[in-house]
Amino acid sequence: MANISNTHESAGGNLTARALREGFYAGVISLGLFVLFVGLETTQNIRNELVLNQRWGLLAVFVIVAAVGRFLSVAYLRPWLAARKAAASATASTETEESFFKRNFSKIAIVALIFYPPLMVVLFGVQGSLKWVDNFGIQILIYVMLAWGLNIVVGLAGLLDLGYVAFYAVGAYSYALLSQYFGLSFWVLLPLAGILAAFWGMILGFPVLRLKGDYLAIVTLAFGEIIRLVLINWTEVTKGTFGVSGIPKASVFGIWSFDVSAPNNFAKVFELPMSSAYYKIFLFYLILALALLTAYVTIRLRRMPIGRAWEALREDEIACRSLGINTVTTKLTAFAIGAMFGGFAGSFFAVRQGFVSPESFVFLESAIILAIVVLGGMGSLIGIAVAAVVMVGGTELLREMTFLKSIFGPDFTPELYRMLIFGLAMVVVMVLKPRGFVGSREPTAFLKERKNVSGSFTKEGHG
């Protein structure tokens, strides 16, 4: 045991022996972890009784991977990383001019997004573009918008909200129910959904303002669950778990409609072949505009007194109070504005799906949105967008990986592993890069020149 602490020993024998031992331990531990869950499988037989299926081969693969992985990590990866770190600190880091691409990243990204649907139509044809515009484009942009909305609450004001999906649900159900019962159009209901969600944000925000950090997180989780359970159980209005279906489509400001029977149908007016792709492309631009609106409002608000107050609140609440900032209104506005964007996204979601049910607003969604905000580096809009593309787009890509079927056999369904990989990715990214993909944050207020604040100087979650 004496040489365990001797980590700087780079000479072969000692290190290899240690790596072998660690690898062996890792193998034994993973055997213990997986023997019941991987080695045996519970399945139902024809008489609907549970029986066990043996999978010792798979278990062996798990154990060997763990042992070999641990061995390689201790014997080669860690000394290599240590050496690289030493080399990096030896050569003093010089300020390099950021490349053109990096400086204008956001402008390039916006232009690229505007040309994305036409490009997909050119590449894959009108019908073929449907998948790329809808499953990737719209899906990712919804999460970008939600994460940017939540960012106002978590990243700027430092209030940890685990029930953000409740406002998303309020927005979606506002549109779904008001358009069904009162026949109002999308363009009337979009702002109304935002206002209703903001209103709910205030109602829920008011009692929880006295709470701090983790407690706040749990109460918001409880509120999110309460709203979902009410949606399930209040069947007279919400139709319970069946959900509300047949939600009318949006129109281009009432000029062109996407209803097949309408005389001003988009395809008919322009004498194009009938396809649902036009509607999806319209929705793509709609959510792009909504997301950019969120970003624009966030950027502008950060320069206003209220934005400064949020950031001051995040850094130190007591100092904030002693400087005469009204913490109650500051927190409430953060909650309400964040909720409003959640409401916008919700009504967009309802219009895109044409169907809403409580199933879409489970806690997992809140966790995903929060994970995107945190992995993006909290407060950094570009970081959050990158995180959304990686996490949502990456798991979405799994659906496309049909070639894996030829490796693992025809029963292999990559979609099943989507959330498993998502959860593990959350853990891995957090452990390796606790500050998220973008590790530094631009200060809004500065003396003379703008210096990047290293992530380790800022703190969050002290609501």
């Binding site: 983790d214 929060l370 452990v431």
Partner: protein, 300 residues
């Protein structure tokens, strides 16, 4: 009256299970100030370990006495869940200990998603029913008490006694309490803080595993999503009793169990979870320190 007492018994049984899970939350929160969100899934994992061991034993040795069967199930569940929680703490939470406050919570949420989906992938998404292990029911003054309920309550009480002894009377318990009060000072006085924290996770996991086994025995069915709702309820129990306080966790668990069964008995069963979550919100808003907790002093 008999109906009321009947509901009381049911509530206390359920409350024992919540109490056992809540101890894991409250201890981890006490010692490192972190909400171990994955704890509910450790409970689920324990239930699944018990289920698999049950199937294994009944397929190899038919006609094993029920007592022995239950004991082996509990032991296997405790071992597996402890090993999982120990590994998770070491791999996922320890590197983040000095990090900002949200980091461990996010990691724990990620771990919770990963664990439940791991079980879904390896064991399948369907409900897993088992035949009833013990089915005798006794009638005392018109109230029916099943043997299951008696086992759960006796097991809870004896585990809590052992646990209370460990925390209050042994060197290990002293080390835990010292680490809880001041981690740096405890380390200076020669306490192996890392090891103490590991042991805390192991203890929490083994109690959760017992709860998981009991849950499986009581309801006769388990499924991979089973961790979330009991987990949140147990956390509610821990907060209600005053987070960081062990008797508080048990008291909170009992109260939550009672509220849930009485609410289902006298009001609508649909809204029983709404009732629990509302209580969580109300307690946190009006008395954040819980029933037995110490109020937090704000220091500048």
């Amino acid at each position: 009256m008999e109906y009321f007492v009947q509901q009381l018994v049911n509530g206390l049984t359920l409350g024992s299970i919540y109490g056992l899970i809540a101890i894991g939350y409250t201890m981890v929160y006490g010692i490192i100030g972190m909400i171990n969100f994955a704890h509910g899934d450790i409970f689920m994992l324990g239930g699944f370990a018990a289920l698999i061991v049950f199937l294994l034993l009944t397929s190899i040795f038919a006609g094993l006495p029920v007592v022995l069967l239950l004991l082996v199930m509990i032991a296997a569940a405790m071992l597996t869940a402890s090993l999982w929680n120990w590994t998770i703490e070491k791999v996922a939470y320890r590197p983040l200990r000095g990090s900002f406050r949200l980091a461990p919570l996010i990691t724990a949420i990620g771990m919770s998603i990963a664990l439940s989906n791991f079980i879904q992938v390896t064991q399948g998404p369907r409900n897993k029913p088992i035949p009833p292990l013990v089915s005798s029911v006794y009638n005392v003054f018109g109230i029916s008490i099943s043997l299951k309920q008696i086992i759960i309550m006796i097991l809870t009480v004896s585990l809590l006694t052992i646990f209370w002894y460990i925390v209050n009377k042994t060197a290990l318990g002293r080390a835990q309490r010292a680490t809880e009060q001041d981690r740096k000072m405890a380390a200076l006085l020669g306490i192996d803080v890392d090891r103490t924290i590991s042991v805390t996770f192991v203890m929490g996991a083994s109690l959760a595993a017992v709860a998981g086994t009991m849950y499986l025995m009581y309801y006769g069915v388990t499924v991979f999503t089973d961790g979330f709702v009991p987990g949140v309820k147990a956390f509610t129990a821990a907060v209600l009793g005053g987070i960081g306080s062990l008797p508080g966790a048990v008291l909170g668990g009992m109260l939550i169990g009672l509220i849930e069964s009485l609410w289902s008995a006298y009001f609508t069963i649909d809204y029983k979870d709404v009732a629990t979550f509302s209580i969580l919100a109300i307690v946190l808003i009006f008395k954040p320190s819980g029933i037995l907790g110490r109020p937090e002093v704000e220091k500048v």
